[in-house]
């Protein structure tokens, strides 16, 4: 390569590496300080730890108990790969602004083809420094390595220190640079153990083995590793295509304080939001709506759609999120300064193509129900599923139209739940009632579950005057969550039939009678 300018070798690669990225991302999300010992846990083992924890002797792969023993003040968080990747996205975008052709090696490490930036900035050192400055703007620790191929460049980045954050390995010197590294950095643990047993401990020793023998003994994976160890890294930086930006965000200056104003102002933006998706042959089945008011208060939630969003649907969701249960012309608590809509889930239009003979009946139902939701709000139209529980109102799970019903628990046994036939009217709020004996004294149930006297008459609020008890049965105890004082419930149920032939389900709570349901 002598005589050729350093940057013309297409394999030259710059790797930008943020040490301890998973810990930094998790600590920022949880609002914790990096000064304290902190570790991320995956499957019971330490996945990553902060510098403070490392000083106490915590290391990756340590068992949880061992790590806590070494560092008693250790703060533990679950490792969240999605958060890791999501938090790194702004960093990738910043680097892409500085130089095109960025490959994401993993959250925390980027590879950039050296040729372009070296020509632009006038040298490898200058290019590395420019990238370091770009990422350093986020307040992150940054190390940069420059070498032939992504593997050697990453090893170079790892060999840097706080005082010298950039390391350049001269062109053609990569093999010599990685030769003293242990084989474990290149091959999987099983192969590493095998190589150790064979007496091969350094990459240089591994590279010295004949290529044919390595291929025969370790297969293609081993041969690839052997090539890398010998500095013949064939890998190139595979630049990613930056994902398109679908988000739609509107700032209101001055902030708007009426919902209808806001809906009107967002209308055209919603149209362009959906239009851009349609142009990319995508439909959106879930959106995330984020509304920021003047005082900085944020209201964010996900909205699902049983089919896909149209511009009107997006505006509706923003309105519903703002108005809650109020009506459309209601004022807001605080004027709205910013609205951001982000598609949570996208799907190809091909999966949502309408049938040849127009649309099915269910789509008509959906449109009709959406109209009613427009009148009454999102919660106004519900579908029902049966959930778990002993009290009748607990078992009815009402889900607003368009939302996903929760996982059912109705198939589990619920001892103490009511046998069939079930009452046709269930009071969501139990109605005050009274059950008295022949002397007019309130019937009570004692600790042992026996009643003070047989009931003679009962009253139910909002259902007229006293009724004579014609037949009755009870008490049927319902004891729930006795282990938790705050939510424990102890009640006794009675079935009562009055003179008119109407049957009621009465409940004796701690010290009052209520009607739970009516058999009508």
């Amino acid at each position: 390569m002598s005589g050729v300018p350093e940057a013309s070798d297409p394999r030259r690669t710059i790797v930008v590496w943020c040490p301890d990225w998973p810990v930094i991302a998790a600590a920022r999300e949880a609002g914790l300080s990096l000064e304290s010992p902190l570790a991320l846990v995956e499957k019971g083992l330490v996945f990553a730890c902060s510098a403070a924890a490392r000083r106490d002797g915590v290391a990756r792969g340590l068992k949880l108990r061992e790590a806590q023993y070494r560092s008693p003040a250790l703060e533990l968080l679950d490792y969240d790969a999605a958060l890791d990747a999501r938090a790194f996205e702004p960093v990738v975008r910043r680097v892409e602004e500085t130089t095109p052709g960025v490959q994401l090696l993993r959250p925390g490490a980027l590879a950039v083809r050296a040729r372009g930036p070296v020509r632009y900035y006038g040298g490898e050192a200058e290019a590395a420094e420019a990238l370091r400055a770009a990422v350093g703007g986020f307040g992150l620790p940054v190390r940069v390595g420059v070498a032939d191929g992504p593997f050697a460049a990453e090893q170079a980045a790892r060999a840097t220190s706080d005082s010298a954050p950039v390391l350049r390995v001269e062109s053609g010197g990569s093999a010599a640079f990685i030769a003293p590294l242990p084989v474990g950095v290149l091959v999987d643990p099983r192969t590493a153990t095998l190589l150790h047993r064979l007496g091969v401990r350094r990459l240089g020793e591994f590279a010295a083995l004949p290529a044919d023998d390595v291929l025969r003994r370790f297969g293609p994976t081993g041969a690839l590793a052997h090539d890398r160890a010998a500095g013949r890294d064939g890998a190139r930086v595979l630049a990613r295509t930056p994902p398109p930006e679908w988000d739609e965000q509107v700032e209101f200056e001055p902030p708007l304080d009426r919902i209808d104003q806001l809906a009107f102002a967002f209308r055209t933006r919603a149209e362009s939001f959906i239009e851009r998706l349609t142009d990319a042959k995508l439909v959106c089945t879930a959106v995330h709506v984020e509304i920021v008011d003047e005082e900085g208060g944020v209201s964010a939630r996900d909205w699902l759609h049983p089919r896909w969003f149209t511009p009107g649907d997006v505006v509706d969701r923003i309105r519903w999120q703002l108005q809650g249960s109020g009506s459309a012309d209601a004022g807001l608590r605080s004027p709205i300064a910013r609205v951001r809509v982000h598609p949570e889930r996208l799907d190809s239009t091909g999966n949502h193509e309408e049938g040849l003979w127009g649309t099915g009946p269910d789509e008509r139902v959906h449109h009709g129900l959406t109209r009613v939701q427009g009148m009454l709000g999102h919660e106004g139209v519900v579908t029902a599923t049966i959930g778990g529980g002993r009290m009748l109102a607990d078992r009815e799970v009402l889900v607003p139209w368009g939302d996903r019903p929760p996982e059912g628990a109705s198939d589990r046994p619920w001892p103490g739940s009511l046998p069939s036939p079930l009452p046709a009217t269930v009071f969501r709020e139990r109605v005050p009632a009274g059950l008295v004996d022949a002397d007019g004294a309130v019937v009570t149930v004692d600790e042992r579950g026996s009643i003070s006297a047989p009931p003679a008459t009962f009253t139910v609020a909002a259902a007229g005057g006293p009724r004579r008890v014609r037949a009755w049965a009870g008490p049927w105890p319902v004891v729930e969550r006795w282990w938790d004082e705050a939510t424990a419930r102890r009640a006794h149920r009675f079935q009562v039939v009055d003179d008119d032939g109407a049957a009621w389900l009465l409940v004796r709570d701690a010290d009052e009678w209520r009607a739970e349901a009516r058999y009508d």
Binding site: V365, G380, V381, I386, E396, S420, P421, W472, A503
Partner: protein, 258 residues
């Protein structure tokens, strides 16, 4: 059968032929209603005696008083046959009881609190949902009722009103209800035998009565079998008939009155 029988003019005199034609014409007139009937909506056989023509019809409004179970029974046939159903203005609609009555919860929509918009909500729902039940929070005027009725006929939907309705095809009412299974401090409710009376305009214009099990035992509403068919005309006599024994609910009853 008479229509498809081969004509043998040589044996039939002119007088006989005219007589037969008149009889057929009268029969056709009996079958025809004054206005165009909507198509039948699947209905539980147990309700056959109570409804004019034996079934719910598209475009009709049906009043039901005093029993949510009876409302469920009215919806159950259509829901079981795959139609969507909606219930408006009934916050305490017992969903689990509805499922036992034969309603399919996947195709049931509830609007528990429509407030003052209830009439507009019902009008919007009948556009897309073939059977809508509503409990009006206030008395409805004749003008509103006929406007909604026109919409029902246009959209081919049926309306079941929990309450009274000015232009209902029929008004059902639970006249008498008797629970079995519950004693004096023991037992549990097992079944209810209800005497349901039907009154109002429609094909018959006279009252009819039927005994139903409301709710049925783990199934849709069943008509109580009394050993003989209860025709629409002699239903009033059947009312005073023998009491139903406790075994009655267990018998598989899905008979349509002849």
């Amino acid at each position: 059968m008479a229509l498809t029988a081969p004509l043998r003019p040589s044996r039939v005199s002119a007088g006989e032929a005219r007589e037969r034609a008149d009889a057929l014409r009268a029969r056709i007139a009996d079958m025809q209603s004054t206005r165009l009937e909507g198509r039948a909506i699947p209905t539980l056989p147990a309700l056959h005696d109570l409804l004019p023509g034996g079934v719910l019809r598209e475009g009709g409004a049906y009043g039901v008083e005093g029993s949510t179970s009876l409302v469920m029974a009215m919806l159950a046939g259509a829901s079981g046959a795959g139609s969507w159903c909606a219930v408006v203005g009934v916050p305490g609609f017992g969903v689990e009881a509805a499922r036992l009555a034969g309603l399919d919860l996947d195709r049931l929509v509830l609007v528990p609190a429509p407030g003052r918009h209830w009439l507009a909500v019902v009008a919007a729902l009948v556009d897309v949902i073939p059977v809508v039940a509503v409990r009006p929070p206030e008395a409805v005027g004749a003008a509103d009722a006929s406007r909604l009725g026109a919409r029902l006929r246009q959209r081919r939907a049926a309306l079941v009103v929990d309450g009274t309705w000015p232009q209902s095809e029929v008004q059902l009412r639970v006249a008498e209800s008797r629970w079995t299974g519950l004693g004096d401090g023991h037992g549990r409710l097992t079944a209810r035998e209800a005497v349901v009376t039907a009154s109002g305009r429609g094909g018959f214009g006279r009252a009819s009565t039927a005994r139903l099990l409301l709710p049925g035992v783990g199934a849709a509403a069943e008509r109580v079998d009394e050993g003989g068919a209860l025709g629409a005309g002699d239903a009033a006599d059947g009312f005073a008939g023998p009491a139903v024994t406790e075994q009655a609910p267990a018998a598989p009853l899905r008979r349509v009155a002849g």
